[in-house]
Symmetry: C2
Subunit: 263 residues, 2 copies
């Protein structure tokens, strides 16, 4: 008989696009997955086979898990962290999937949560909610891990293994580096997609003709359909870095060399 590696039981808190996709991907990889969300979402996740069990409370979800994944909004993840720390088993690893890492990583350090490792899969979509989730969302994507000096190496290994089990490639950054990088690669693009669409809609001539836009305009404004309340949180959490990246973008728009599009 071949010895089988025991796959950790994972609690996923928040079963929206990202949490729902994590649950589905880990179920497909053979993990026991305990999901927690509002009752209607729990029922949908159970019915879809995305979770092994649906827990009616945060404590019930977290209490028997080897790894806890916080997949609500950045602000809610931070708010839940103390309760998760109390309810988690000794030795349980805690991670999150929020788009901003400095705040929650500092919180975890403050609470003495040595088995916390921040994470951020680079695999968003403009769709949201459990109905948009998919077991393939992370396949071939990067999953950024942001341990700080106090994170236990075994915790980093555990989260890295989960990312791999979902088909993602793990890359390690400091929380500070992460927040700066995603301001350029994710947060400013989101702001731009809204601004580009709002700008075309605000012009009385262009607004009547939005339908003739080619595929490039649609690609560049697809993110405008992203959920605004979530994004307001993300942008507020990463305010300083987004400001820096927007200032850089404004310089690039003025740059007479390089792109040479000065007009």
């Amino acid at each position: 008989m071949v010895a089988r590696v025991r796959r950790p039981t994972v609690a996923v808190v928040g079963l929206g696009l990202v949490g729902g996709s994590i649950a589905r991907a880990l179920r497909a990889a053979g993990h026991r997955v305990i999901g927690h969300d509002r009752p209607a979402v729990r029922r949908a996740a159970l019915a879809a086979g995305a979770v092994s069990e649906a827990a009616p409370s945060l404590g019930a979800a977290v209490g028997s898990a080897d790894v806890v994944v916080l997949a609500t909004s950045p602000r809610t993840n931070r708010r839940l962290l103390p309760e998760v720390a109390r309810a988690a088993r000794p030795g349980a690893v805690v991670t999150d999937v929020g788009s901003v890492k400095r705040g929650i990583c500092a919180d975890a350090r403050r609470y003495g949560l040595r088995r916390f490792v921040g994470g951020h899969p680079m695999a968003g979509r403009e769709a949201s909610g459990f109905a948009a989730s998919s077991a393939d969302l992370f396949r071939g994507r990067w999953w950024i891990l942001t341990p700080d000096g106090t994170s236990a190496p075994a915790a980093v290994r555990a989260v890295r293994a989960l990312a791999r089990a979902m088909g993602a490639r793990a890359v390690v950054m400091t929380p500070k580096e992460h927040d700066r990088v995603v301001a350029f690669l994710s947060h400013v693009p989101q702001v731009l997609a809204w601004a580009l669409l709002a700008s075309a809609r605000s012009d009385r001539v262009a607004a009547r003709r939005l339908a003739v836009a080619g595929p490039a305009f649609r690609d560049m404004t697809r993110l405008a359909a992203s959920p605004r309340p979530l994004w307001r949180e993300i942008l507020a959490e990463n305010r300083a870095e987004v400001r820096r990246a927007l200032a850089s973008l404004r310089r690039a728009l003025r740059e007479p060399r390089g792109p040479r599009h000065r007009i």
Copy 2:
């Protein structure tokens, strides 16, 4: 015997991404297509069966065509217009596919070219050159026609029929309306794609991590690979409207309501 409609012979001047795709699409629809470009491109187009004949000179290409399609850059299209007007057969229809319409339409009116109709297929791609051309490029896309008060109705019908033969849907605008609309839907997105990529590359931290960008960043910067010399011409030709649209974008980026991304 069923009477067969005679399909017009079309001269395509410039066999790059758009001209090459027009030649392929019209050949596939049964038209006789005479192509003109540099010798190496002519050979490639002949070898690919994208043209029925390759003409060594502009005059030879234009002289036996029912419809002449100018598919070089906007500035070159304008420069070729007087010679095309002299070489074209009486009654031949002339159109172009440039991204800016006011200049060339005013030129055509000045030269008394009543059978000229400006055109602009909304089907660009970041790839360029004959090698990137495809008979399907225009399928399901809009083809903007910009007749002005002096364009002969028969010429508008002829160009509309060609657009339809290529699978496109024709829509009529004035040259002025066109230039304003595409500034918002095409020219500013192009400038933004360059600026977004240049901005991320200019940040010493983000530049090292461009590879972790998710699909949204790649969608939003795909146009940055578009040919710069062509785009410098387009932006210079449509300077006033692009300025207006960029000013509108800057306002949208500051807008505290609507998008609510003020940070």
